[in-house]
Amino acid sequence: MTMTRGADRTKSRASAVLWGVLGIVVLAVLWEGYKAVGPVAGVELFGTSILPKTDDRSMPHLVDMLTRAIEPVNTSAGSPPVWVAVIGAALNSLGVAAVGWAVGSVVGFLIALLMQRLHVAERAVLPWLILSQTVPLIALAPVIVAWGGKIQIGAFSWDRWMSVAVIASYLAFFPVAVGALRGLQSPDAIHVELMRTYNAGWFRTLLKLRLPASVPYLLPALRLGAASAIVGTVVAEVSTGYKGGIGRMIIEFAQSGTSDPAKAYAPIAGAVVLGLVSAAIVALIGLSLKRFNRQEAAS
């Protein structure tokens, strides 16, 4: 029984990889195909461009992007290859995003716990949570940087990366709060009543019933939170002026676009890979909680 289930899972994982590879191939074919047959000046309708230009400056060949990625960043002596610089920047961003994700997840979980415990809190807090996600990041960044700049406690002083991490956590906490709340509320009435017959209080019910039951909801929420933290980090790097991360690199390389168009695509690809890596890390964490992912048996 478990064996067939394991085999099924391996099969579905293999097909997921296959679909992923197929998607990349389709994208590449579309890119090169359009570049080959599309009009050089692009397509304009009533003065707005609806299809991009296909010249080498607007749409470099994939081969050019790849070769550019292994060449040095610039002409100065000792300049590392682009891909090495991209990995360095991506790791830098990953570190900041990880801090943001961890803080955001803890805060999100605590908010969910509060909402589960007090129904009043659920009604009072949930609308604010949703509202919080409609505030544009661009508006938020300067405020956080300004407030952060005022913080100085003994040897501790606010650093720019912390502003980035705060913004990342601001995006990450939301899916975690919503997912954790759904998970904590997921046990059936029969299970909750059973705990009542055992005279188990709120905390014991949380420990033995609600927490384990929330795992299947929590894992996707944490994955979503990780993706949000990455997006938040990339955008916040730009709007807070933090140097060294992948977001900043995307902007810098794009600015050299006219003379060196193929260079800009390496950090973009790096950001995509970063998102995948973060999802994979969370999935690894999820593996350790596998037994809680069992579904209720249908009798």
């Binding site: 029984m1 059936d188 029969i190 299970h191 009543e193 059973l194 705990m195 009542r196 017959t197 055992y198 005279n199 188990a200 014991r204 033995k208 019933l209 384990p212 795992v215 037994r291 809680f292 992912n293 069992r294 579904q295 209720e296 048996a297 009798s299």
Partner: protein
């Protein structure tokens, strides 16, 4: 019943209990009215009646999962609430309600774990109970690897974990097929005789009630009340085994319960009870 049992406190004593549910905007549902019932220690009592006659509600009042709006409910001489706090009863529902992330053994150990029983003692008790319900080969399995009948056995074992002198069961075999059901009834008879616990058993099935019970409480709806209590007299020394199902005393019991159900003036619903 033995003399000591007669002298002891009743397992359950319900005195003119009633339950009114307030539903939306001032509307009320009278779920139970004027319920009087005494269950002796070790006695097996079934509650039978059409849907909505308040069987589950009565069981929930005894379990202190709901509170009565009138009357008095005592369990071993204590209030229902105190009896729940003191873990005087074990309970099983129609759906087994096992925790899917816990193995058979861990599910049975749950109440013991919650009450601070040590690991070794827990394991020993679980072992006994697994033996009792005949699941020795399935100790480390998870609920999704068990059939419905096996899950229900685990649920029964779990309800027995604290050695309660009272078992409350709400249609525990209701979702099982007829053959599994008869086998489970047989097992329940054996388990009860081994543990000596009193049982309140909710069911829709007349044969099931008669097969299992010392007394069958017949209820009728709108408002939920007791219309008759049928004593099942199988004659001295009659064993509750499969042979009983073809016994004249058994048929007499079935007929008596059926007549009590049909005979109730406001409930000509007995025909499609099952």
């Amino acid at each position: 019943m033995t003399d000591t049992a007669l002298n002891a406190l009743p397992a359950i004593s319900v005195r003119s209990a009633g339950k009114i549910f307030s539903v939306a905007r001032g509307a009320e549902v009278q779920a139970l009215t004027g319920i009087d019932l005494t269950v002796a220690p070790g006695e097996f009592v079934s509650l039978i009646g059409p849907s909505g006659c308040g069987k589950s509600t009565l069981l929930r009042l005894i379990a202190d999962l709901d509170s009565a709006t009138s009357g008095e409910i005592l369990v071993f001489g204590k209030t229902a609430r105190q009896a729940r706090l003191d873990q005087e009863y074990g309970i099983a529902f129609q759906s087994a309600g096992l925790l899917p992330w816990r193995s058979v053994q861990a599910n049975i150990e749950l109440p013991l774990e919650l009450h601070g029983v040590g690991k070794a003692e827990r394991a020993a008790r679980a072992e006994e109970l697994i033996e009792l319900v005949g699941l020795s080969d399935f100790r480390t399995r998870y609920p999704d690897q068990l059939s419905g009948g096996m899950q229900q056995r685990v649920a029964i074992a779990r309800s027995l974990a604290e050695r309660p002198k009272l078992l409350l069961m709400d249609e525990p075999f209701g979702a099982l097929d007829e053959m599994t059901r008869e086998r489970m009834q047989q097992e329940l008879v054996r388990i009860c005789s081994e543990t000596g616990a009193a049982v309140v058993f909710v069911t829709h099935s007349i044969p099931e009630a008669v097969f299992l019970s010392d007394r069958v409480v017949v209820m009728s709806p709108r408002p939920g009340r007791i219309v008759d209590i049928v004593s099942v007299n199988l004659g001295p020394g009659t064993e509750r085994s499969d042979a009983l199902r073809e016994n004249a005393a058994f048929f007499a019991g079935v007929t008596a319960v059926r007549e009590a159900l049909h005979g109730s003036p406001v409930a000509p619903l007995g025909a499609d009870l099952r």
